[in-house]
Every structure is written in C-alpha cells, then in structure tokens.
C-alpha cells in the first residue's frame, strides 16, 4: 500500500550514532539509509557536522527529532524550527519526524517525551500546532507514537484513534514505532494488535524497531537490546497491513558494533510482506 505522501520505501536503515562514525566513514557500509537525531546536529560545526555531510553525500538521510514538543502549551520555538529547516535543506532529508508528546512548559525542557492527555482539547491544540510547523517547514511532518508510562484519567480517546484524528485534522503523517506500541500496550493493558490494525495505513511512512527493558512492573523504551520476538511479530502484522515501509532500527544504550546493529536491522527482511528483492532500490544510491 502506498502512503499518501508518495514517499518511497527506503529499505532498512539504522540510526547514525557517534560511536559508529569511524566505521561508517572508513567502511562505507552497505546500509540502505540513515536516520539522524536532529538535535545532535543543529548547533555543531565540528566533527558531527563533518560526518553528517559525508553521510548525506553517500546515503539517504531522514531527520528524527525529540524537541519539537508539538503538544506543549508553550509558544512554538521558531528559532528551533529555523535551524531544523536549514538542517533538512543541508542534508536533503527525505522527511522530518518527531513525536506526539510535549517536552516542557514555562520555558523549560525536561528532554523527555511526556504523554498527552488524549482529549478534544489536546487534539485541537496539537493539530493547530502541527499545521503551523508544517507551514513553516514547507514539508509534511511525521509524528511517532511515543512509549508512555502513564495514562491520564481524563483521556477520552485511545492513542490510535487520537493519532488517526490528528492526521485528519492536521494533515501530518505517522512514524509507527512498533516497539513503542508493544511497550505502551504492556504498560497500559491495551491490545497491541488492535493498535496496529487501527492505525491509518496511508499515513505511515516509516517504522521504528528497537529493544526495551522489562522492569517487571512496567517496560521502559531503552533502545538497549535486540528486538524481542513479540515486537517482530507485531512488525510482521504491520507489514502485512501497511505494505513495505521504510524500517529503522534504533539502538541507543550499550551500543554494539555497527555490524551487529545493522544485522539486527536486516532481520526485518524476513518479517516483511514482500520479498527483499522488491525493497532494495535504495542500496544503489551509495553503491555508485
């Protein structure tokens, strides 16, 4: 199923992380694409900027942010958006994503992806801000479902219905984090499969996969381990429903070698709906 933004399936990507810089620059690994953490590159002119320039010349790059704070009731930070827009131009980013969350109010930033109450007020507020952000960036924005550890009693929407409504009211797209669906489903006791089945298919342009940490009473989205079997099963279900979607493996704690991370990302091939030969177009970009 094609997404309504006509964005391509880039194949299987990994997050660009500092510990892998030397390997990537020297080995030019055959990875389909890279996702960068936008904030790591907004204000640096040093080595990260140099490495990103090299990577953007060789691979498709997608930008993923953590500070858009699109659900916050603070004013929108246009200084941040200006830098984001400039970075997207420099890297020729295929698309720009962030999260359905807020990170702070009253001028402060907790640097966490804090949960929204899923209410009409939140929806109206967030949709308006998403529209402003997209107008400013002059491109669609894709919002990721976050892992959450609490639910507000006043929520009147499920998260998947809220996301669906948000896409309708704002025009944004979605980044479906399958691990986050699993984490939140455990933490809140909803059916992860129903979530996957209800997410608006034509709006999803990217999927995230990651490992997590089970604390017994709850699960934390730590990106510190391989993907668990139950999340692979959800990924298969998502692929069957959504078709082949650009898939990215995140690994941010106790990061192993690049080859291990890449191999974990490539495991996704066996869970996809279509054979791998149909999703390898992106590899030709850096093989040239």
């Amino acid at each position: 199923m094609a997404n309504r933004f006509h964005l391509p399936d880039l194949g299987f990507g990994v997050g660009l992380r500092t510990v892998h810089f030397p390997h990537i620059l020297s080995q030019n690994p055959a990875v389909d694409w890279f996702e960068i953490l936008s904030e790591n590159f907004l204000d640096t002119g040093g080595r990260p900027a140099y490495v990103l320039e090299q990577v953007a010349e060789r691979y498709p790059v997608v930008m993923h942010g953590v500070s858009l704070s699109v659900g916050s009731t603070d004013p929108i930070n246009f200084d941040y958006l200006r830098k984001l827009k400039a970075l997207a131009g420099r890297t020729r980013a295929r698309w720009v994503s962030d999260h359905l969350c807020w990170t702070g109010v009253s001028g402060l930033n907790t640097h966490d992806l804090l949960p929204m109450p899923y209410t009409d007020e939140s929806l109206r507020h967030t949709a308006e801000r998403v529209r402003i952000v997209m107008d400013f960036l002059e491109r669609p924005v894709f919002l990721e479902n976050p892992s959450t550890y609490l639910e507000f009693s006043e929520s009147t929407w499920t998260e998947w219905d809220f996301l669906a409504a948000l896409t309708e009211h704002s025009g944004c797209g979605l980044l479906l984090d399958v691990n986050n669906v699993f984490v939140s489903a455990f933490n809140h006791g909803f059916d992860a499969g129903e979530y996957i089945d209800r997410i608006p298919a034509g709006r999803v342009v990217q999927i995230h996969l990651a490992g997590h940490t089970h604390k017994g009473t709850h699960i934390l989205d730590t990106h510190s381990d391989p993907v668990v079997d139950a999340v692979w099963a959800l990924y298969r279900r998502a692929s069957q429903r959504l078709g082949n979607i650009s898939t990215l493996l995140e690994w941010d704690e106790d990061i192993p070698s690049f080859d291990v991370v890449h191999a974990e990302a490539l495991k996704a091939r066996q869970f996809r709906a279509a054979p791998p030969s149909e999703v390898t177009h992106a590899t030709s970009i850096h093989a040239a």
């Binding site: 904030e39 790591n40 907004l42 204000d43 640096t44 002119g45 040093g46 080595r47 900027a49 140099y50 500070s67 704070s69 916050s72 009731t73 930070n77 941040y80 807020w102 702070g104 109010v105 009253s106 001028g107 402060l108 930033n109 907790t110 640097h111 966490d112 804090l114 929204m116 109450p117 209410t119 009409d120 007020e121 939140s122 929806l123 109206r124 507020h125 550890y149 609490l150 639910e151 507000f152 009693s153 006043e154 009147t156 929407w157 499920t158 219905d161 669906a164 409504a165 309708e168 009211h169 933490n187 809140h188 006791g189 608006p200 017994g216 009473t217 709850h218 934390l220």
Partner: protein, 284 residues
Amino acid sequence: MQPASTPLEPAGAGRLAEVQRWMQACILAAGPVEQAVRTSSATKEIPASRAPGLIRPSRTLTPLERLDIYRGMYELRLTEALRTDYPGLAHLLGEELFEELARLYIRACPSRSYTLNRLGDHLPAFLDDVDGLPRPRLVRDLARLELASTFVFDEEESPAAGPTAVSRFSCQQWGDLRFIPIRALRLVELSYPAHRYLEALRIGDTPPRLRPAQTRLVVYRRDFRIFYLSLTKPAFALFQSLWEGLPLGGAVRALFGAGGASERQVYTWFGRWFSESLFQRVVV
C-alpha cells in the same frame, strides 16, 4: 472512544496547560513523589488530594508510581548528559558525589534549551557557590576547562592560515596586522594544570595528582580533536591581545613595554601558533 471524524468541541480554559504545568512541577521537584505532588508549584495547578485521580493506575503500579517513572528518567537523562560533557569532573569527584552534585545543579539550573548540549553551561558558575567540595579549586578549574572544551568541540570549522598569510604584507604594514584566531578556540587561565588530568583520562591513564600551578591554556580544535597549548604568562598576554582584536604593533609594544619578552621569543611563539593552525586569517 470517538471516531476520527467527530467534530472537535471547543477546548476548556487551559486544562491542558494546567495538567502540563502540574506534571512538569512534579518531575522537577526534589524528594519522593508523594512530596513532589505537595510542592507549591504542583498544588498551584492541582491540589495534592486530586493528584492520584489524575492518572489511571496500571495492573501493577499506582498512579504516583507511574508518575515517578518520569521523575527517575528525568534525573538519569540529565545526569548522563552532564557526565558526557564533564567526564573529568565526574572522575575527580567519583560517581556518588558527581551524581549528587548533578541533582543539585539540575534543580538549580533546569534546561531551557531544545538541546542537551548546553545543559552544563552554568555548571562552573554553580560550583563557585557550592561549599564542601574536595579540592575545590581543582574541581572548579576542571569544570571551566571542560566547558571551554565543549564550546571548542561545537564551533564552526574555519580554515587555517599559514605564515604566508603574514609574508604577503610589507614590513611597514606589520604593525597594523590583526590575527584572527580560528573559531574553535578558547583561552582559559587556571590555578592547576587541569589539562593534564583530561589528557591522561583521554588515553586511559590514571590522572596525575596535580599540584597548584598558574596555567594559561589555548584550548583549540584541529582535525576534529581538542588540544591544549600551555603558554607562558607573556605569551598568553600577547595571544589574548590578538584575540581581543588588537593590532600586532600595539600588542607587541605593550608586551615589550612591560619587559615581558624578547623579539626572538615573539617570533618563536608565532612560529608555534602558526604550526598549530591557531589563526584563520591575517588582515590589516
């Protein structure tokens, strides 16, 4: 639950803002979560008695236990960001003391930026007001040096000028020459040779036991690595004058007037500074 096509009702009077201010106040507050919901900044938004009702319990956790997950992650994340920028300070203080200090700092100077990269900008100033630090002057020196290093790390790359940048001017013009340092450069004066501590850590050695010694450093970046060049007092004074934009003639006259250096020494210094690629341009 409502279908996506339901028309949206007008929002209430800032309920979302109220909930967000409340949750943030609870996250930022020190002490246990039961105490956090009773702080004035939290109760200003939502009375403590109503706090548990704001969050649904899970099968395994109470509402406040769920809120506490965010409080724990906040502290961990920001402490880790400080540790990344201040590895020397963390090593010198030890894990326990560094984390205690980080907790105090985070409460005193919460982040106001979209980036964690500048979270620690106020740490050296904060340390000036902290009593009871072990080896306080060294602790403060390390913090200042590591902060300068973070600025140097992130600065824009600038091209380096060689000695030929000077030779293209006639001797008559030399007095008017201005030496523009590369952007990835800072000057730091310390009471300890704290750079030796960081250099040892960088190569995995045990840092030396440092003794006090007036130390004047150029912190700079070359080939994306950070270096520390230790200067004598007169050499540092000259470089500082150039850094501040003084023309060469004025800077050198001031130095010679104070009897700080010979002409031969100045030539030697400039040779070293050019070889270290400390200047990006020489202009009149």
